[in-house]
């Protein structure tokens, strides 16, 4: 695990027992982060730009079929496979444990996208445009990515930066729950909880110690910052 150089280590808990698969988080993420608009064509080509996707699985046999939902976003791995393979440091690790992406530095080798076992990195195959009046909706806090660069979930780093500046001006640490990424803010069932994993009393840290916890593809040793919660019973994911 990496050396702690910051008092924050951002993480998330996704409670699969609460997730209804409504997709509000996907929409919120798209609106907040200037994620390009993709239609049927792009999605059928496998070139959709969603930073967060809801994986839907059907479990059981008819008539006892249940839908299982798995929201997958960048796992912000502490030992991220995408980071060492980038030849230009466009993919890097920041002191808060975030897995950053520098769009201006990215040359588009797409090596990180290949090496991400969660396949959450999306590449701008198209030169995306926002037809009027949708361009008015673009967030001024975020850059609009050009063609040929890789992008992915940042845990809404712009919100984290703003909260850090606020806290600094008031000479205090960021309070628990002060930052909410767009997905967590929108989730109607409170299935997504974001916070500082380095603070053992934060809500996210308490939830991450739940016996229901697991992490995606844990055997790969990537040490993701996102914990999933799932109860037992006959409805295993």
């Amino acid at each position: 695990m990496e050396k702690m150089t910051s008092q924050y280590r951002w993480g998330m808990v996704v409670d699969l027992d609460r997730c209804t698969g409504c997709g509000a988080c996907v929409v919120a993420c798209q609106a907040e982060n200037n994620v390009a608009i993709c239609g049927k064509k792009e999605i059928s080509e496998g070139r959709n730009m969603h930073w967060l996707r809801i994986e839907r699985f059907w479990v059981g046999k008819y008539p006892d079929v249940r839908a299982r939902f798995l929201p997958v976003l960048c796992q912000h791995c502490q030992d991220a496979p995408c980071e060492p393979v980038c030849p230009v440091y466009a993919s890097y690790h920041n002191p808060d444990g975030l897995n950053g992406q520098v769009y201006n530095r990215c040359v588009g080798t797409r090596y990180c996208g290949n090496n991400c076992p969660y396949a959450v990195r999306v590449f701008n195959f198209y030169n995306h445009e926002w037809p009027k009046p949708l361009d008015n909706q673009l967030s001024p806090d975020m850059t609009v990515r050009t063609r040929g660069v890789m992008e992915k979930c940042t845990f809404c780093v712009q919100r984290i930066r703003r909260a850090k500046e606020d806290a600094k001006s008031e000479n205090r640490a960021i309070r628990d729950g002060e930052i909410q990424p767009a997905c967590a803010q929108t989730c109607p069932t409170d299935a997504l909880v974001f916070g500082n994993m380095a603070d053992p009393r934060s809500r996210v840290a308490i939830l991450s110690r739940s016996p229901r916890r697991f992490r995606l593809l844990e055997h790969l040793g990537t040490h993701p910052s996102i914990y999933y919660l799932k109860g037992g019973g006959r409805e295993h994911v």
């Binding site: 798995l70 030849p87 230009v88 040359v107 588009g108 080798t109 797409r110 090596y111 290949n114 790969l220």
Partner: protein, 456 residues
């Protein structure tokens, strides 16, 4: 060796004439060929320009298959480049005399294939115009490229190999350039005069030349092995099922030599035909190259067997999924590859008559390279198609842009080779004629004393 390597009873000027025949004034068919190749290159450049000016959606790439035919090409061309090193350097060190007429063709091929292969990582970039971010140059931002990335190792290895193999080619050509200089006039004379660097053929020059050639031959082999190991690391150091495998570096090196040696045989056949060098490239050469190819085909088959066998035995679900997917969707390509790379050469090259048949050798050697291209495709694409998250499994189909760039690359290589053959001695005159000097072996009753030329 009982068979003569050199045609007997030819005067030295006749020998020079025939071996330098490629330098004669080009015929109209040469111009036609060059024009045709140039047109294909132009088409490839247009396709690349189209991708550059629009966006990458014109390729077949998607998520999860973010690497496609461009990277297949990259691995393929770098693999081909192992021919020169293998044929020239290793055979030079092992003093196999039959290598002499072939070595220039092989060395030149190395340089041009590395040059073509080295372009592909740049062609494949999403933002080709900022490729210089990959180069460690001092800049005001104090940013360096990431030395932990296998792609940077690649860049380093390929640059080293281009420089090394160009020097190897040039060094070996030095005395031949002097011969060409002495036989030419006009602009050619000026060109060869500069390139021959005042070679006069003094004893001291020859001594230094032999030392340097042997040294370069010994130095280029580890570079060649490391280059393709590093190309293999692009895949082996990742966490992608099907790529993450410790056998990849030796397997890739063997595969590279496999395709390289096969390509040299193909080129030998073409050069023999085009420049009427039947007296110099005899069935003996094809026999020996065939034996070499047989050994490498056996090695390759063993490496492939080990790779699949260990995966099958471990039966790790996701790795086995990749192999099952490959065997299912790409069954024809897989079977064709095994036939062309393994079954056909192993069976055919066991027989001396087939090894000495030019037609058989042509078919075998061309099919091996088709098979090796497929092999690179089957390594890269199925693994990416079925990665760890089944929800984002996908497929890949190359588009006209990628295929045009590939065609442009093949034509570009052929064009460079054609131009080279017209401008520079295609058969290593010096190395072949060295054998003549070796004939002056002094006999003292039963012992044979070697002439000084033998001591390379």
């Amino acid at each position: 060796m009982s068979e003569p390597i050199l045609p007997a009873a030819k005067s030295s000027s006749q020998l020079n004439d025939e071996m330098l025949s490629s330098l004669r004034t080009p015929t109209w068919s040469w111009y036609a060929l060059a024009l045709f190749l140039g047109a294909v290159v132009a088409w490839g450049l247009y396709a690349f320009g189209y991708m550059l000016t629009t966006d990458m959606s014109c390729t077949g790439l998607n998520r999860p298959v973010m690497w496609g035919v461009y990277i297949v090409n990259f691995v393929f061309w770098i693999g081909l480049s192992h021919s020169g090193t293998m044929v020239s350097a290793i055979l030079r060190l092992s003093r196999a005399n039959w290598r002499r007429p072939i070595l220039r063709a092989a060395e030149a091929m190395t340089v041009f294939t590395v040059a073509v292969g080295g372009l592909f990582p740049l062609i494949h970039l999403g933002r080709n115009w900022v490729f210089f971010y990959l180069i460690p140059y001092p800049n005001q931002r104090g940013l360096w490229p990431n030395f932990r990335s296998a792609l940077l190792w690649d860049a380093t290895a390929i640059f080293t190999y281009i420089i090394g193999s160009s020097l190897f080619l040039y060094l070996g050509m030095l005395p031949d350039l002097a011969v060409a200089r002495d036989r030419s006039s006009g602009w050619r004379f000026k060109l060869y005069s500069v390139l021959a660097m005042g070679w006069r053929g003094a004893a001291r020059e020859w001594a230094i030349f032999h030392q340097a050639s042997t040294l370069m031959a010994a130095l280029i082999i580890p570079v060649a092995v490391s280059v393709h190991s590093i190309v293999a690391w692009d895949f082996a150091v990742t966490v992608i099922p099907g790529w993450h495998s410790t056998i990849f570096p030796p397997y890739f090196v063997i595969g590279a030599i496999h395709s390289g040696v096969a390509a040299v045989i193909t080129l030998m056949i073409i050069i023999r035909r085009v420049f009427h060098l039947e007296d110099y490239l005899t069935p003996l050469h094809f026999d020996n190259m065939g034996k070499l190819l047989l050994v490498i085909a056996l090695l390759w088959s063993y490496a492939y067997f080990v790779e699949v066998q260990t995966t099958w035995y471990a039966h790790e679900p996701i790795e086995w999924e990749v192999f099952s997917f490959m065997a299912d969707k790409y069954a024809f390509l897989l079977l064709f590859m095994i036939f062309a790379n393994s079954v056909l050469p192993i069976v055919a090259l066991c027989f001396k008559r087939l090894r000495r048949s030019i037609a058989v050798m042509l078919v075998v050697s061309v099919l091996i390279n088709v098979g090796m291209f497929i092999e690179r495709f089957l390594i890269i694409v199925p693994s990416l198609s079925h990665k760890n998250m089944p929800f984002v499994w996908g497929t890949y189909r190359p588009t006209w842009v990628e295929l045009s760039v590939t065609a442009g690359a093949f034509a570009g290589f052929a064009l460079m080779y054609t131009l080279f053959a017209k401008c520079f001695p295609m058969v290593a005159v010096t190395d072949v004629r060295e054998l003549e000097a070796q004939k002056s072996v002094v006999r003292l009753s039963r012992t044979r004393l070697q002439s000084s030329a033998e001591k390379e």
